[in-house]
Subunit: 413 residues, 2 copies
Amino acid sequence: MSLIVQKFGGTSVGDIARIEQVADKVARFRADGHDIVVVVSAMSGETNRLIALAQDIQERPDPREMDVLVSTGEQVTTALLSMALIKRGVKARSYNGSQVKILTDNAHTKARIREIDDANMRRDLAQGSVVVVAGFQGVDENGNITTLGRGGSDTTAVALAAALKADECQIYTDVDGVYTTDPRVVDGARRLEKITFEEMLEMASMGSKVLQIRAVEFAGKYNVPLRVLHSFEEGPGTLITMEDDGVMEMPTIAGIAFNRDEAKLTIAGVPDTPGVAYKILGPVGEANIEVDVIVQNVSHDNTADFTFTVSRSDLPRAEEVLRSVCEKLGAREVTSNNKIAKVSVVGVGMRSHAGVASQMFAALGEENINILMITTSEIKISVIIEERFLELAVRTLHSSFGLEKDPSKEGSA
Amino acid sequence: MSLIVQKFGGTSVGDIARIEQVADKVARFRADGHDIVVVVSAMSGETNRLIALAQDIQERPDPREMDVLVSTGEQVTTALLSMALIKRGVKARSYNGSQVKILTDNAHTKARIREIDDANMRRDLAQGSVVVVAGFQGVDENGNITTLGRGGSDTTAVALAAALKADECQIYTDVDGVYTTDPRVVDGARRLEKITFEEMLEMASMGSKVLQIRAVEFAGKYNVPLRVLHSFEEGPGTLITMEDDGVMEMPTIAGIAFNRDEAKLTIAGVPDTPGVAYKILGPVGEANIEVDVIVQNVSHDNTADFTFTVSRSDLPRAEEVLRSVCEKLGAREVTSNNKIAKVSVVGVGMRSHAGVASQMFAALGEENINILMITTSEIKISVIIEERFLELAVRTLHSSFGLEKDPSKEGSA
């Protein structure tokens, strides 16, 4: 018998028929003897409906009241799911964020969880009840309703699992797990049985929208085993967990991630003096523009070329900021390109395997794909390439690193 | 400067345009220097939408979860109205029942208020904020969300006014006050400037749907001056208050109330022995059927005829119960009639004025309206008549008691 936290998103509880399906699933787990805490989002469309009401009043409504408003969406789902469970003879009780209680800071619409009181949940679990908790919301120390920001229900689930020391936190979604790469791009893309938190973070930050980055960070920090599963199809999903040195060697590469939402800016002919990177990126940061890959080349005439990437939607503003920086520093020119994309190979195994980078560059070179920028981390190598080569690059790398084969099965063959 | 509690029902906050109108009204009161607590219902249609969701799951959903579900309706309105006030530069803060907090018993879906904590509201009022409270809901001593039952928002408003010792509790509705009788039946029906709690109770219990009976009782018990006003038209409305002996004599009759939802049952030939009334009405009460007017006649052969009225929807069940009672008691027969109605003259003045009853019976007699049953209280005389005479009876009595004339203006003329 395990203690399992299960999270169902808006689509999984989008109408009464789906809520009934979720209740069937939860009831089965309960019948198997598990203790269950369910975290639910608002029914799909509901949060948007509430936001639209508020914006009929004002474009930027009061944040405290915004939280009071949108938090009702999840509360509705908790009540409906509890009713559906009770109808099946399963004891169930709903909780909103303040009833749990999930204590947060007072940063309305983007609050952070500080502490979770597990007393009420433990009492109900001990009495055989399924505990149904409203995701995405909490309460500050003055009793004001707060929300964690969109997608915050994943974070709620992980935080509850951490507080309860749950055996597993299951995130039910519309995909059946985490894949070696996007199956829409590579036919041979394969569901991973297992992936580490770090790999998942790198995959998630690259646009793999299966899980909220924040929830993965949280799970990694508190070592909560996280499993991604399909809401309405059976299957083991993908387990996201700590690196597991003992049992078997992790495969070198877990997957190929990519992101089209990239644009690059170059400021050329910058006087190569200490502190110049800050003089360039400082104003960009102040304009609330997030910078991704950064590369600096020293050229022969004691000036540097400085290149970085931003989201495409930030490009016009970033260019504006950079032109004013260019003038101030007496640099030569600002150029930009939004027809680029980023491709990454991700895997904790590359820590101990030399040659991943060279294999990557060789594979891309064979296909005549020009690399515009390179950036590396401990478990990831990313390259910026022209967007038109993106699909080709992903397929090439997926095949080059043998990702269509299941390494665990290979070993046992 | 006064402290005023204002309550707006579902129609008054039915869409964003109306919420904006309510915000205008509240802002004007605030600009006049009043401290304002606003109680709101769910936007019209919202409670029904939520109930329909629940009933898609189960006809009688779990009561605790039902309260969790429907209480979100009022919470949404509090947030939207607070936003609209803040947009107008008026400080405002929303509160749900648990945040106030409004402590109730744990009778889910029909809870009773036990205690109201006024600390948070007083702090906000002192800081110049309008306090916007979700009507209809509270919290039990274990932190479970409760609701007061439909129409409970009036009760919330009166309870808050009592707790805060407010100068006035204003109930905004779709009528501009309490009338001497239904204006749809009598052209000359006149808005009352003032009516006593007791008179209002008698009028309300007779189907005058302006106010919840429970709210009037509450207001009377705690002597909260209650005013009924139109949400979107200007005017003084009707003040419901304590009997005011000192200032001026109350008019004899305040109004003519009536109710079509009446059916009568007669059990004839009941052996006239002590305790027989209980033997008849006991089983009816146990079947959860409410009985209104009761009349017992002794006939010449030492048996009695026992007649009482119930709501029309309860008639079939009541008949069934009564037939079994008839058999047990060896009574002669059970007959019923659902083409009847009740007409009442109501007024605290009749306490000290003899002859109201005879004037009433004389007026009805002149029009050849046969009286089927009579029942009286300190401030009310009711007769049961055939339904087809109802309009004629109401018009006749309205004119006979001179209600189309304003007694206060008459005095000053």
